[in-house]
């Protein structure tokens, strides 16, 4: 038995799952930066995206790529609805009511999907069938796709925020809303765009992860918790941090499950989180937490 191959396999799985956490964490971070609140329904965006994909592909029998595109577009529309239904009415009321409202949205989404699709998990097929065999190591094609898409999205996001006008406006909005308003940036519209984008991003994560984890009601919750842990470990509201944090959690839990204990796998992410909070509360990339007078 080749120990090196095993380690490589474990690393690969960890990176792949970690990049799913990173994609969802990216959605978290964008909304945190735009609105200063955490969207507890972010994981359910992934779940919903995957189910919409199933509805188009399996129930309506549409071609794969059309279903894929429609699912992402539908999630964008959903993001807009979410903005106006869950966030907008509470925008002046501090973070607590908004957090609670998104929690309510999460319960609503999970149970609505349950009523519509039933509790039986659904199958989605890999984007490309098969995988790559290197010695005793097997790289599942879907995991490779996930890794590739994550990299592309990170690059896209960098380009979008740094080199397009609308991206710069979004950045200005997230840094200082009052200033942005004075500069004539339509802040409410920018926040709506943020919700659309992060819902689409969540949907993308769901569609991608569907083939490996299967599509089920609870698929979003556990991913979201890890993704949130990733945003804190990486640095609250930091884009780099979300990605590094996501990959870090994926890899750590993968190795810890392999070397320490499988049943406690879900606890490692939270353990990491506690350690980071105690010893480096600002996370890997974050700035020191303090309140202004």
């Amino acid at each position: 038995m080749d120990a090196l191959a095993n380690n490589f396999q474990v690393l690969f799985q960890g990176l792949a799952l970690g990049s799913i956490y990173a994609l969802v964490a990216l959605g978290f971070v964008l909304i945190i930066r735009a609105t200063n609140v955490v969207n507890f329904a972010q994981g359910d965006f992934a779940m919903l995206g995957a189910y919409i994909m199933v509805a188009f592909l399996v129930n309506a029998g549409m071609p794969y790529w059309l279903s894929f595109a429609l699912a992402i577009v539908a999630m964008g529309v959903f993001g807009l609805l979410f903005n106006y239904g869950v966030y907008y009415p509470l925008r002046h009321r501090g973070f607590l009511p908004v957090i609670i409202s998104t929690l309510g949205a999460s319960i609503f989404l999970q149970n609505s999907v349950l009523a519509l699709f039933g509790a039986q998990p659904k199958r989605l097929d890999n984007v490309v069938a098969g995988g790559i065999q290197i010695g005793s190591v097997f790289l599942d094609s879907q995991y490779l796709v996930i890794l590739a898409v994550t990299m592309v999205m990170v690059a896209f996001q960098y380009f979008f925020f740094e080199h397009t006008m609308i991206g710069k406006k979004l950045q200005a909005t997230s840094q200082d809303k009052d200033m942005a308003r004075l500069l004539g940036i339509p802040v409410a519209l920018m926040i709506a765009i943020t919700f659309i984008y992060s819902a689409a991003l969540g949907g993308l994560a769901g569609v991608l992860v569907g083939p490996v984890l299967f599509v089920s009601i609870g698929m979003g919750s556990i991913i979201a918790l890890k993704a949130f842990a990733a945003t804190i470990i990486g640095g609250f509201g930091d884009v780099k941090g979300a990605i590094v944090g996501g990959l870090f959690i994926g890899v750590v839990e993968s190795f810890a499950a392999f070397y320490i204990s499988v049943p406690y796998k879900d606890a490692y992410a939270f353990l990491m989180l506690f350690l980071v909070l105690v010893f480096r509360p600002q996370g890997f990339f974050g700035e020191k937490v303090s309140e202004k007078a």
Binding site: A119, P121, S136, L213, F214
Partner: protein, 376 residues
């Protein structure tokens, strides 16, 4: 505030009293199952099975000349929900018998409530201890885990001649109970497992488990897995990482969902099944009726409830009584009663079945291999 508690509670209480006071002409049989929550999928099959039985019974003239009516109560897939559901149904004197949950922990939680209700309750949980707590009202319409593990080990060791066992199990009550029983049963056949590996339900990645199996060099894997989803992911990764060992699994391996999700990764595996359409004549007839009514393949979640409902009807008709104690005695008196899951002989503990079907996933089709039973 207190006013509202008073008003609300009394309104609720009165409403329930009225609801139960209605339609007294029918024989009312309680059914506690999962309508909401994570196990709603399995719950819907259970309800299907029981409903099909009721339909057939009513067509044949009902029980004691009366039509049968199911009173279904949701347990929200939780233990507290089960306790509440039982105390709700158990408080109604016009319900002479009930069908309970298929999850062992839920039965365990409800046990005191069942005792308090004092009516026969048919259960599907397979934890052996459920029928060994001096509760005379619990009857099991499935073989318990000591039999499932004996069947798995007997088939693997004696028929397939495989000696290097890895056991993979969920850490929930079902999984860890099954693991203990299988380890014992294998010891009884002189085999020490080379690996015992647990995991928590809804694991996203089984790579560490698969690598551990690879390392152990096992040639046969016995599994006690609870969720079809976990079976699906495990199967895919097991085959992807090149493990070709024989796999004999607990019933979840041959559920419709698991087979759909895992596809060809599950081809060639063995499973134990309470129910198989080809196991006997009753099963054949039931499968045909179930398919035509619901257009899905029948599985254990529906078949056990179908048998449970029929056992109740049989016992009530043969004792010509709707008194709980008479029904209880009539159930115990059944001899070789032919159900779709096998022949029922209830022992003093209330265990009705002692055997399983071995089935094989043959290219996506479940093929009946043999029935192994430990009836004396």
């Amino acid at each position: 505030m207190r006013v509202s508690i008073l008003g609300a509670l009394s309104a609720g209480a009165i409403a329930s009293l009225f609801a139960f006071g209605a339609a007294a002409d029918n024989i009312r049989i309680g059914l506690v199952s999962e309508i909401t929550g994570p196990n709603a999928e399995a719950g819907s099959y259970t309800i299907n099975g029981a409903k099909l039985a009721v339909e057939q019974i009513n067509k044949k003239g009902g029980i004691l000349g009366k039509q049968v009516e199911l009173v279904i109560e949701d347990n929200q897939s939780t233990n507290p929900g089960t306790v509440l559901a039982f105390s709700k149904l158990g408080g109604n004197s016009d319900i002479p018998a009930m069908i309970g949950p298929i999850r062992s922990t839920q039965v365990q939680a409800a046990s005191p409530a069942i005792q308090k209700a004092g009516i026969p309750v048919m259960i599907g949980g397979t934890d052996p201890s459920l029928t060994h707590v001096n509760n005379p009202w619990v009857f099991r319409c499935r073989p318990n885990d000591t039999f499932s593990s004996r069947v798995i080990s007997d088939f693997g060791v004696n028929k397939l001649k495989l000696k290097k066992w890895a056991i993979v199990h969920s850490t929930d009550a079902f999984g860890s109970g099954g693991q203990k029983a299988l380890t014992e049963a294998l010891k009884g056949l002189g085999v020490e497992p080379v690996l015992i590996q647990g995991y928590t339900n809804n694991s996203q990645d089984f790579t560490p488990v698969v690598l551990a199996i690879k390392k152990s060099g096992a040639d046969v894997i016995g599994t006690y897995m609870t969720n079809s989803q976990d079976v699906g992911i495990f199967a895919k990764q097991l085959r992807q990482l090149g493990v070709t060992a024989t796999w004999i699994g607990s019933p979840s391996i041959v559920t419709d969902t698991a087979m759909k999700l895992a596809g060809e990764s599950l081809h060639g595996t063995y499973g134990i099944a309470d129910f198989n359409p080809d196991a006997n004549a009753e099963a054949k007839a039931y499968a045909a009726a179930y398919r035509s009514k619901y257009s899905v393949e029948p599985d254990v979640y529906s078949s056990w409830a179908f048998d449970a409902m029929n056992v109740i009807a049989q016992a009530m008709n043969s004792s010509k009584s709707s008194k709980p104690d008479d029904i209880r005695k009539a159930i115990l008196a059944l001899k070789n009663w032919k159900g779709v899951e096998g022949n029922y002989n209830f022992d003093a503990n209330g265990d009705g079945l002692r055997g399983y079907n071995i089935v094989k996933n043959d290219g996506g089709k479940v093929k009946f291999v043999e029935h192994i039973s430990f009836d004396k």
